[in-house]
Amino acid sequence: MFEIRFGEREQIVLQGRFDAAQTSRAREFFDQVVESRVVDCSRLEYISSAGLGVLLKVQKRLMATEDGLALVGLNNHIRDVFRYAGLDKVFKITGESK
């Protein structure tokens, strides 16, 4: 199961499993995001390169004029994915890992 929505304080909440079958829905959601946001990943269990691709595209678009997406609460596996992909240098990643 995968969920993407706006949460408190206009944060974006990613929840569940962000796999290749979820990219269309995520892309549609992110199309309405036009300014810098915090993305709460504390309930995100899984992400593959397909999910990274969606986030990277949004980041490129936002960082042309804004600070971009800041990710918080990544679990250790997802942190590894971002680190291995070199995307820990492209996204601001904060918050305790779990």
């Binding site: 796999d19 390169s49 595209k57 960082m63 291995y84 992909a85 070199g86």
Partner: protein, 137 residues
């Protein structure tokens, strides 16, 4: 354990369910599940995107022997596409130049211990090995 899955991106959830069932059946450490899910998804979606195999389903085999998990994905009736020959991804490029292409295979290399490709009788086979050790991902 062997399963076969429709050649479409929407099959990814079923493939992950299959991997989970194998972990449960074998009583494997769930901390490895993320790495295996990711590797299987990346190879599977690659076969869906680039394979020209028509209606034939993609087979996934999982086998645990002596702390080594062997994962095999078999794509029938396709032209050769050697993923192990993919260009190395430069993860240090600035944002503007970063592309997502090739990142999946790059991650598979990072999360798995071995990756091998063979092609025979119009059949592509990708074999991955993950060692289950205490110093794990």
């Amino acid at each position: 354990m062997r399963g076969s899955f429709k050649r479409e991106i929407g099959s990814v959830s079923d493939v992950h369910g299959f991997v989970r069932a194998f972990f449960e059946r074998e009583g494997l450490d769930r901390d490895y599940l993320f790495a295996v899910d990711l590797a299987v998804e990346e190879i599977f979606t690659n076969m869906v995107k680039y394979g020209d195999g028509g209606d034939r389903e993609i087979e996934v085999e999982l086998d645990m022997q002596d702390e080594h998990l062997t994962i095999r994905l078999i794509d029938h009736d396709v032209s050769p596409f050697d993923i192990t020959a993919a260009d190395v991804v430069d993860v240090d490029l600035p944002l503007k130049e970063r592309k997502i292409g090739g990142l999946g295979i790059h991650l598979v290399r990072k999360f798995m211990d071995e990756i091998d490709y063979t092609y025979e009788n119009r059949r592509s086979t990708v074999t991955l090995v993950k060692r289950f050790v205490t110093d794990h991902v």
